[in-house]
């Protein structure tokens, strides 16, 4: 009967709405509207939006160095974005990417510092450790929901803080670099960075994490859409009752989903540390990649490709932001406003579609006449 629906609609609107069903254009429009609102606010603050956005772009794309650094900024966002998106697609809201990221970072550095493995293999082991640790941390939230009915939004928020302090403690207790508030430096054999690579980018701290991230996006897609496991995870996410009736083990798959989600974040944490710092510093506050990951996933519509793209978008925006301060004196926080607006427009798609329906509504009248 859906075809019946189509016929009743004017062509143009049908096309547009078709695009919306794909969910492709919506984020794009949302981003444009977001940037527009940003510009408006700058004008109100008597800044020059054009200069501002131009210097933002300059900082993100101006030269190889900044480009490389921008990629460095994008990398963790891909991971946390995928983490959030993965959970989302399986009906869970993972606010805990931040904590899973931290735990993963710790595990990665731990292996990097204490294990002794040959080149490459060491890095692989360290990153794998990060993934595992992050997965376990996420799995805890999954278990709490499945077995104990604790809503994951709450448990993951709590687990974020626990992760922060736990990792601070472990770092200080077992890995502390004397006289510093950070861990000892991981052995080079575990690093994800390479001089020749940064060399290409004027010493920017770009590292192989980006490749792992892109790989993860592919894995994300395959697992979720091509495999039996993904089928089950999505089924449970969309309708746990029907899934149970179909004989899918709902609780296990919830835990599995959160574990997978956590793996992405944990992987990101390990990659960030082994690629950028090579050590883990004691943090008084969150780094915020997990929370940005929320934005990334939401704007990316929780698809693999979408997440990667929006990770690049937000990475470029957040990395370029200080450029606005530098070039046009615009406070870099403006970019948070832009991001917020984009999220709003994506979330309340109604706002945009409503506008369009008005348009096409008039058009319908015309055609009638």
């Amino acid at each position: 009967m859906a075809n019946k629906q189509e016929n009743r609609m004017p062509k143009t609107f049908r096309r547009i709405s078709a695009l919306f069903k794909e969910g492709t254009w919506l984020p794009v429009i949302a981003v444009l509207l977001g940037l527009a609102s940003g510009a408006l606010i700058m004008l109100l603050g008597s800044y020059n939006p054009l200069t501002a956005y131009q210097s933002l772009l300059t900082r993100s794309f101006g030269d190889m160095y900044n480009f490389g650094e921008m990629i460095r900024q994008v990398t963790p966002l891909i991971f946390t974005g995928l983490a959030v998106a993965f959970a989302f697609r399986t009906g869970l809201f993972n606010i805990g990417a931040e904590g899973q990221f931290i735990i993963g970072a710790m595990a990665g550095i731990y292996v990097g510092v204490f294990w002794h493995l040959p080149w490459g293999l060491h890095a692989v082991a360290a990153v794998a450790a990060g993934a595992l640790a992050g997965g376990i941390w996420g799995g805890i939230a999954g278990y709490l929901k499945a077995a104990r009915g604790v809503h994951e939004v709450i448990s993951t928020i709590m687990l974020n803080w626990i992760a922060l302090y736990l990792v601070n403690y472990l770092t200080k207790r077992f890995m502390l670099e004397p006289g510093q508030m950070r861990s000892r430096t991981a052995q080079e054999s575990a690093w994800l960075s390479a001089d020749w690579l940064s060399g290409l980018f004027e010493h920017a701290r770009i590292h192989f994490g980006i490749l792992i991230g892109l790989g993860c996006a592919v894995v994300f897609y395959i697992v979720l859409l091509q495999t039996k496991l993904g089928f089950e995870l999505r089924a449970v996410g969309l309708n746990p009752h029907a899934s149970e009736y179909a004989g899918i083990k709902v609780k296990q798959s919830m835990i599995a989903a959160m574990f997978g989600s956590g793996m992405f974040a944990g992987l990101g944490g390990a990659a960030e540390m082994l690629g950028v710092y090579h050590y883990l510093s004691v943090e008084a506050a969150f780094r915020g990649y997990g929370f940005l990951g929320l934005a990334v996933a939401l704007i990316g519509r929780n698809t693999a490709l979408g997440t990667v793209l929006s990770a690049f978008l937000l990475g470029a925006l957040t990395y370029g932001a200080p450029g606005m301060k530098f070039g046009a004196g615009v406070p870099e926080e403006l970019i948070d406003i832009v991001i917020a607006m984009v999220i709003f427009f994506v979330a309340a798609a109604g706002i945009i579609t409503a506008m369009l329906r008005l348009l096409s509504g008039r058009r319908r009248k015309k055609e009638a006449a």
């Binding site: 809503h151 736990l166 926080e333 970019i335 948070d336 832009v338 709003f344 979330a347």
Partner: protein, 321 residues
């Protein structure tokens, strides 16, 4: 002796830290009872903290206004919070946006907006100048002089007293008045409420704005009592804690307040434990961790299946079948 001092001091500091959480949790209670998830408490607190600090600064430091300054800031914050909550209601009530998503959006907006404005107003610095006039503690005559107990309970910031008042008032509203009954109905079964002639959207707008106002009051409390300024980390996650307190307290006013107090102990213990040299027994990081850990354990233990308002998180579409 020593121990009494510690206890009394612990309680006192606990109340100081809990006040903001109580405000925010009670705020969240309104919106969530009406069926709107409010993960945006964080952002609303941030806006409250900024407004409170900024206004109090101009009133106190600049206009040289006396002890009224913090009160002015506090009230301004309440108003600002209510307004700032509007987008959340707009997106999630009118346009059926995913409430958690729109909440996340609001939190980003809050950080961005406040720091942007701060830099705009205070010549490029990401924080307000330190306030000359914050709130200072009230001592209830006579009671405050009771040894230990006085310091623990009867010496506190005015905001703390306001917070307790708000809790009591909320309890009355929720359990006794028609508004409370309707609020509950809207959160449990919006369609039923609608067909009973109650405006679901109306109720939810009011509820969300109330939560904004109260959460902002919480934020202002922090800026006007403990930090005496606003900066990027004045709130730093306390909105989320308040949300946890709300759920921890099963969406009930007094339980939520107790939960908030419980979180207050955490921050309090940090310093108390150090000063009294107890950190040699428990690493300070574990003291920080403790409340979050306990929350999870408790939720997992028995509160786990605390039944939330049935329609929580689901947008209400009139036309839906």
């Amino acid at each position: 002796m020593e121990w009494l001092t510690i206890a009394s001091d612990l309680i006192h500091t606990t109340i100081v830290f809990a006040t903001a959480l109580i405000f925010a949790a009670i705020g969240g209670l309104y919106s969530e009872r009406s069926g709107v998830v409010n993960i945006a408490l964080e952002g609303m607190m941030t806006v409250g903290a900024f407004t409170g600090a900024a206004i109090a600064y101009f009133a106190g430091n600049v206009a040289g206004m006396g002890n009224g300054a913090p009160w002015l800031g506090f009230l301004a914050a309440v108003v600002a919070g209510a307004l700032f909550a509007l987008p959340h209601a707009f997106a999630s009530v009118t346009f059926n946006a995913d409430q958690v998503v729109s909440g996340v959006g609001l939190n980003f907006l809050a950080t961005g907006l406040t720091l942007y404005l701060a830099k705009l107003i205070f010549s490029g610095s990401a924080q307000t100048p330190t306030l000359q006039r914050g709130f200072s503690e009230w001592a209830i005559p006579y009671l405050a002089d009771i040894p230990y107990l006085g310091n623990a309970l009867f010496r506190a910031y005015p905001t703390s007293f306001v917070a307790f008042l708000a809790v009591t008032l909320t309890a009355y509203i929720v359990y006794r008045t028609p508004f409370g009954l309707r609020l509950y109905a809207v959160g449990e079964h919006p369609r039923a409420a609608d067909t009973a002639g109650i405006s679901v959207y109306g109720m939810r707008y009011v509820a969300v704005m109330l939560s904004g106002a109260l959460a902002a009051a919480g934020g202002a409390t922090i800026a006007l009592t403990t930090t005496n300024n606003f900066s990027h980390n004045t709130i730093s996650g306390q909105g989320y804690i308040a949300l946890a307190a709300l759920i921890f307290g099963k969406w009930r006013p007094f339980q939520a307040m107790l939960a908030a107090l419980f979180f207050g102990i955490a921050s309090a213990m940090k310093s108390v434990f150090q000063v009294y040299g107890l950190t040699q027994f428990v690493p300070v990081d574990f003291i920080y961790m403790f409340p979050y850990l306990l929350t999870i354990l408790v939720l997992a233990g028995f509160v786990g299946r605390a039944i939330s308002p049935a329609a929580l998180g689901t947008p209400y579409e009139k036309g839906q079948r």
